[in-house]
Symmetry: C2
Subunit: 216 residues, 2 copies
Amino acid sequence: MARKQGSHAGITGPKVQEVALRLFAQAGFAAVSMRQIAAEVGVQAGALYNYTADKQALLFDLLRDHMMELGRALDAADLRGTPPAQLEAFTRFHIAFHLPRRDVVFLSYMELRNLSPENYVRIAALRRGYEDRLEAILRAGLQTGDFALRDPRVTTLGLIALLTGITNWYDPGGRLTAAEVAEVYCDLVRRAVTAGPDLPERPAETFARDAHAGKA
Amino acid sequence: MARKQGSHAGITGPKVQEVALRLFAQAGFAAVSMRQIAAEVGVQAGALYNYTADKQALLFDLLRDHMMELGRALDAADLRGTPPAQLEAFTRFHIAFHLPRRDVVFLSYMELRNLSPENYVRIAALRRGYEDRLEAILRAGLQTGDFALRDPRVTTLGLIALLTGITNWYDPGGRLTAAEVAEVYCDLVRRAVTAGPDLPERPAETFARDAHAGKA
DNA sequence: GTCTATAGTCTGATAGAC
DNA sequence: GTCTATCAGACTATAGAC
């Protein structure tokens, strides 16, 4: 111990990402200094620049890696069956993926504004791709008549906000297990969009006059 | 014009709050300097300290004023009638109040971590009071049999996340008017919690074993 | 790959003139 | 109530020794 110098590639690199993620999530990107990160990693500030071009690249890499892992995990998930079955599978996938990653989820929403314009566009495109996967399920269910909803795009954004919001309050040591929370939310999501005999009077898609224009 | 000195109480004071809110929301509390705020207000940095004890008091005052105005506005809203009517009124109120205040809503979620512990407790208590108003409506609807849901507390937090999420994507110049968005969300909220003849098999409140313990 | 040292700039907050 | 001037420290990023 007490080694003050030497080569640690393969150890320091991942540790920089880990520490930066934790500190950014706790205090905010702008509030965390490169010296703080270096101190927790166990090196001097200058050494960080062997692993990142600058502070903002550190943030971008964290967000990009998160979004790409999300996409890969969804690809690997089993989202077959009828639209209601797909919706339940998506709901459970979203909760299961996001709940253990509360730090980076918080970062993904809070620190987009600290990305450069080009980097922002890249992250936003990845997010849009994920949203589109849910929207496709909702549209399929409209076609089959399983779902009744006024606007697939807005409903998509609403459901994702509903589900992602869990990460803001969930306490692993709290009253409910993650599985119990997932049950509550599966119910909410399913009932929010399911066509039922009690509510036939409203048109399914009142505001779809420009549904593919890109804007929400 | 070109006046460099003089007394402007009653003008500068509110302007400091305005500018601070806008800059904090745009760039984050930690990323905004007192000099930046002063420059946009049109004074020198030192003059700000006539209006705030320090930078953090500026943030706390913004959040406290917002939460107290929210409470007063809800008190003034017409939330009578059956639980379903109350729920629709709450939904419309929440959207109407939050949509024109996107900056401070964003601040209220993102910058809680930059409050001192005492200040955090005060803001959290105000928020909890607001959440409890919705939870009371849900519990009333469970009693009357109008609503069916598994957990009033979790459902409350879910619905608030759903509704508040609108502020993250809504574009006043976009495809939908605020009134149209409100219709979509009224539908989602109502259907998510309404007891219907199609879904009688699930218990209304499976996880309520500790519903008043304080933790979600 | 990590160290030390440093350049150049910005920070929150205060003091005292007017 | 606002100004100017200033303190003491922190910041990102780089240079060069090892």
